[in-house]
């Protein structure tokens, strides 16, 4: 750390280098911290969480009882101990609340004044954060498993929606209507994700064990279907052609740069694909327990030098090296199945929600001072926290533009 700092001072190093090293170290030291709590609002399992990208301050969570909660993650109290307060709640008493389990929540990528939620009550609602009233409600024929707004889209404002129907719906926020349907799957669509690199590229995962990548400008069909055997016909039995998994595919996640796509399936496997070619990179992550019949929300770290995957695995969160497939650690703290996890890229914190009604914050352990004996640990902690602010606040704008040059 000190070496990095001096090198940085001397201007020898790229600023990225120090940042990567430190965030990698922090990710590796993620732990359940008694100082960080998240309010217990949900009385039922938590299906989905989302942290907004603008400030990194507010977190949405959707529960199996239809409740949606907004948390404030930022600690302005100056105390070490912090409980993330619930800022506002769409509770059971609200008349706009989802009737059934909320499956996906997502902030509008450019503004915290709006968020979108979809539920098993066959609706997707676009909420005004201020009034907590839905500005728009989309009705569907089947349960909505997943929806996604493109995080980088400038030219369109489409929400891709995966429902029980095999067709993927595209809803336009501008017009408030369903403008397009993508056909090709044979079973319910469990997960949809926009590419963080190209705004028209969409990946969808379905219970028919297939993962398709679409260009929404192309009407005729998908770009390609991921094949676990990379087109090697000899290995695949006739019905397993062009399948990504041997079971339902219920998790999708692009890496931060959008170059790779991760999928998880109920065959207890996780696969890493080249998102440009659809090639299976054949990284072996071993067995990733996955019994979920619904969408599994997992995430990838951003800004570390080897990147990490955080994937719910039974009652714990497994951390894998993205490209090595090596199991780094298991974050054990939930007492029931974990359904979702979200990485906070600014502070390298991980939030996970599970069926035990808890949202757990996994916070990097403060590095013990390797210099002299520091008697006031709290003081020192404050210092390091401030360093953290200083470090990560500054290059934030830089991050968006830097991601392209990084690769």
């Amino acid at each position: 750390m000190l070496g990095f700092l001096t090198a940085r001072q001397a201007g020898l190093d790229d600023p990225l280098r120090l940042r990567r090293a430190e965030s990698t170290r922090r990710v590796l030291s993620l732990k359940l911290n008694p100082d960080r709590d998240v309010d217990r609002i949900h009385g039922n399992g938590i299906n989905t969480i989302d942290i907004e990208a603008i400030e990194g301050r507010y977190m949405l969570s959707g529960g199996a009882d239809g409740v949606i909660v907004v948390y404030d993650l930022e600690n302005y109290s100056g105390q070490l101990q912090y409980t993330c307060k619930a800022v506002c709640t769409v509770g059971r008493s609200s008349k706009y609340v989802h009737k059934f389990s909320v499956e996906t929540v997502q902030w509008y990528p450019y503004d915290t004044g709006m968020f979108v939620s979809s539920s098993f009550d066959k609706t997707m609602k676009v909420w005004d954060t201020e009034t907590l009233k839905p500005a728009e409600v989309f009705q569907f024929e089947g349960n909505v498993y997943s929806h996604h707004l493109s995080p980088i889209a400038r030219k369109h404002s489409l929400i891709a929606v995966g429902t029980k129907e095999p067709k993927i719906q595209l809803c336009d926020l501008k017009s408030g209507s369903r403008i397009h349907v993508l056909q090709g799957h044979r079973a319910e669509v469990l997960s949809v994700r926009w590419s963080p690199r190209y705004e028209h590229i969409l990946a969808t995962a379905s219970a028919d064990s297939k993962v398709k990548v679409w260009d929404v400008r192309r009407a005729s069909g998908c770009l390609f279907t991921l094949d676990q055997h990379n087109g090697d016909k000899s290995k695949a039995s006739s019905e397993a052609v062009n399948t990504a998994h041997d079971g339902r595919v219920n998790g999708l996640c692009f890496t931060g740069d959008g170059l790779y796509l991760l999928t998880t399936g109920t065959d207890d496997r996780m696969r890493l694909w080249n998102s440009a070619t659809g090639e299976n990179t054949l990284v072996n992550y071993g067995k990733v327990c996955n019994e979920s019949r619904k969408r599994l929300q997992f995430t990838v770290s951003r800004g570390c030098s080897p990147e990490f995957v955080f994937v719910p695995c039974g009652s714990s969160v497994a951390v894998y090296g993205l490209h090595t497939g090596e199991l780094v650690t298991m974050l054990r703290g939930h007492y029931n199945n974990v359904d979702c996890c979200e990485f906070h890229p600014d502070y390298q914190e991980l939030y996970s929600g599970g069926k035990d009604c808890n949202i757990l914050a996994w916070v990097p352990v403060i590095r013990a001072s390797d210099v002299e004996e520091e008697t006031k640990s709290a003081n020192q902690l404050q210092v390091s926290r401030e360093i953290g602010y200083w470090q990560f606040d500054r290059p934030k704008g830089f991050l968006a533009s830097g991601s392209g040059s990084e690769t």
Binding site: L32, N33, P34, R40, G43, S315, R332, G333, H334, Y335, N336, K355, D356, C357, N358, L360
Partner: protein, 738 residues
């Protein structure tokens, strides 16, 4: 950490957890703590061994392991960290948070473990919850997701509580039904009961006025126990109990037989009268007894006993004179008494149980007070009636006999010779029939000695019923015989005792056979042969024995060439003249032993005639069990060699077990070991055996029926049947198709 410590810790943990005790062994626990104090490594080692023990499918093991964990949890921070780190698993294994992983049997211990774990976790949360986040999380998980009520003493989950509620509701319904049925029942039979009670009341008031006339007596009540105690002072002084009574007596008293015979009839009556006197006076009884002994006894052997109730004149008899109400039935009140008896029986067998049942139902279901009060009132009335009846001291045992007597030989007995001795008995409910077998534990209750061989005739031995013995010739023999049989069946009669004595003695050798004629004897000795053809034509020439007659063909023109109308069959002919009598020979018991060495220097003690099932043909052997003949010795050596070859020494059970432990692969050491030892020793004798409970008749049958070899055999047989059919008839279309 040193290896010795590690080993010692493992050993201690294993001992503690497999003790099967609900509490930990204090000294061992102390030792564990002492070792744990040495270093964190030790704690880690204990933690790992505890977790592995917690994973055992045995609730007792888990309970003990959890108790150890509790002890260490409060002492070591390191242990706390380790345990809390893996708190999910701990909860799964002790609190049953995962419904797919229920706690293992035995159920009682599992329940205990669960409640203990919940209480402990609560106390942990109270003291360490703030410091250990996962502990707090786990506590909240239990509280909010699993809805464990920590205040609930039973520590039940929601599901359990719901189940409990359901059960209660069901019980309530059942109770309600029962209450309804009972109240209806009560309505119906209330009148009947009341009628019975009134009847009983009036019967008793009828009986009681006759109280001061003749029936009241102050009789002796000598409890049977005291008499029994007196009756067996020493072994040589109880001739009536000992088996050789008859023989002893017969020699000495044979000369008196004639006069006794003459006097027999009156004497039996006199004796009883005398005895009554005797009993009242009490003191003179000794001389009386001695005189009695001289006159009584010999013919049946027991006249003295019968007449006095005593067996030796050296007895002292304690008499307890107690006044009391006693209703004695005469012919006048017989009808009333029998009614009372019937009513009594009705109350005891029918009304009282019914009323008690209602009371039980009402109290248990908490029904209306009124119903309960009414039922209790009925019960009280019935009990009062019974009590009153008891106070009357009506003796129906005597009465029953009296009735019988009146029918059988009324002219012989008068009403006077009724016995008072029966008053010694407590009133007992009437037995439906006699009880030839009285269970050992009930013998005291029946006033019998524990051992049947020495059972004395109880006081009613002097009852008039026993008076007429075979020697008495006055009344018709058939009637007497009948009565004798009846009395023999009654265990309280002297006749029964006599019969038993007779049975226990060896049968008198000559008396019966000498009386029979010689021809009779021969006839008895001759075998009975079934009647056959040979006997039918005994001594005659049989006309067509052994000839087979073939009927000529009835065909008009077609006749077989060699029609032999008659054919002689030598065999048949011989058969009709002779008779086979199979002679199996006589059984000679085997006197030799197998004597093959069986280990530990012992020799096989089996006595097979030719071949021991374990050691083969029986050959002469020397002291050490080696065969005497050379060829036998060679053969045995060969066999030994072959056995060893069959199981090469690398298949040594111990070695294989070691290898298995090292590699984790199953080489089948337990199979080999089993073959060698025959019976596997139980590993942890203190733990309750889980398989024991599964040892039901069903499981045993299953083991037999679904036995692999049995299944294979059956399948083979069936397959063979099928194949045969197929082989034979496969070319026929209707078989070929199936």
């Amino acid at each position: 950490m040193e290896l010795s410590q590690r080993d010692r810790l493992s050993e201690l943990v294993e001992e503690l957890t497999t003790s099967g005790q609900p509490q930990l062994h204090q000294d061992r626990m102390k030792e564990v703590k002492k070792i744990c104090r040495v270093s964190n490594d030790c704690i880690e080692h204990v933690y790992h061994s505890l977790m592995s023990q917690l994973n055992q499918e045995h609730a007792e093991v888990r309970l003990s392991a959890f108790q150890i964990a509790t002890e260490l949890f409060s002492r070591s921070h390191h242990f706390r960290t380790l345990l809390v780190d893996n708190f999910q698993e701990l909860l799964e294994l002790t609190v049953e948070t995962d419904s797919e992983q229920p706690l293992p049997p035995p159920k009682e211990v599992a329940r205990k473990l669960r409640s203990l774990a919940i209480q402990t976790i609560q106390s942990w949360q109270a003291s360490y919850g703030s410091a250990y986040k996962k502990l707090a999380l786990g506590y909240h998980f239990l509280k909010q997701v699993k809805k464990v009520d920590f205040q609930d003493a039973e520590a039940r989950t929601v599901a359990e509580r719901r189940r409990e509620e359901e059960r209660q509701r069901k019980m309530e319904r059942i109770y309600k039904e029962r209450v309804e049925a009972a109240s209806k029942d009560m309505e119906e039979s209330c009148q009947e009961i009341e009628a019975t009670l009134t009847e009983m009341e009036s019967c008793m008031s009828l009986l009681l006025p006759g109280f001061d006339r003749t029936d009241m007596q102050t009789t002796n009540h000598s409890p049977p126990s005291s008499q029994a105690a007196n009756a067996c002072p020493s072994a040589d002084e109880q001739p009536c109990c000992s088996r050789d009574l008859k023989d002893n007596r017969r020699g000495g008293m044979i000369q008196e037989e004639e006069e006794t015979k003459e006097r027999k009839h009156e004497e039996s009556r006199e004796g009883k009268e005398r005895k009554e006197v005797e009993d009242r006076e009490g003191e003179k009884e000794e001389e009386e007894g001695s005189s009695e002994e001289e006159e009584g006894g010999p013919p049946g052997g027991d006249v003295f006993i019968r007449s006095s109730g005593l067996v030796s004149h050296s007895y002292s008899l304690d008499l307890d004179l107690r006044p009391g109400v006693h209703v004695k039935e005469t012919e006048d009140n017989e009808a009333v008494v029998s009614t009372v008896i019937d009513l009594h029986r009705l109350i005891i067998t029918k009304h009282l149980p019914a009323v008690q049942g209602w009371v039980q139902v009402f109290t248990r279901s908490g029904a209306e007070q009124q119903l309960l009060r009414r039922a209790l009132e009925l019960k009280r009335c019935l009990e009062a009636a019974l009590q009153k009846h008891k106070e009357l001291h009506i003796d129906y045992r005597t009465r029953v006999r009296r009735v019988m007597k009146a029918s059988a030989d009324g002219e012989e007995d008068d009403d006077d010779d009724d016995e008072d001795d029966d008053d010694d008995f407590d009133e007992v409910p009437e037995k439906e029939g006699y009880e030839p077998h009285i269970p050992e534990h009930l013998r005291a209750e029946y006033g019998l000695d524990p051992a049947p061989s020495t059972s004395t005739a109880p006081p009613p031995a002097t009852s008039p019923a026993a008076a007429p013995l075979p020697s008495s010739s006055s009344s018709s023999s058939s009637r007497r015989l009948k009565r004798l049989i009846e009395e023999e069946q009654d265990p309280t009669c002297a006749a029964a005792t006599l019969r038993r004595l007779r049975q226990s003695l060896p049968p008198p050798p000559e008396s019966s056979s000498s009386s029979r004629s010689g021809s009779d004897q021969k006839a008895a000795g001759a075998p009975v042969v079934p009647f056959g053809l040979d006997l039918y034509y005994w001594g005659q020439e049989q006309p067509n024995a052994g000839k087979i007659i073939k009927s000529a063909s009835q065909h008009q023109f077609w006749v077989p060439i060699d029609v032999d109308e008659e054919r002689e069959n030598k065999e048949l002919q011989a058969e009709s003249r002779s008779r086979y009598i199979s002679f199996p020979g006589s059984f000679t018991p085997v006197s030799h032993h197998c004597r093959a060495p069986v280990g530990w220097g012992k020799l096989c003690q089996r006595q097979d005639r030719l071949k021991c099932p374990f050691h083969g043909p029986i050959v002469p052997r020397d002291q050490e069990g080696r065969p005497c003949r050379q060829e036998d010795r060679l053969r045995e050596e060969q066999e030994e060699r072959r056995r060893r070859e069959e199981q090469p020494d690398w298949r040594d059970a111990e070695l294989m077990r070691d290898i298995e432990a090292a590699t984790g692969e199953d080489l089948g050491s337990d199979r080999v070991g089993k073959k060698g030892k025959g019976k596997k020793k139980k590993k942890y004798p203190n733990l309750s055996d889980l398989k024991q409970s599964a040892n039901t008749s069903r499981s045993r049958l299953e083991k037999k029926v679904f036995n692999k070899s049995a299944m294979r055999r059956v399948a083979e047989v069936q397959g063979k049947d099928d194949r045969r059919k197929h082989d034979k008839f496969s070319n026929q279309f209707n078989y070929a198709l199936n």
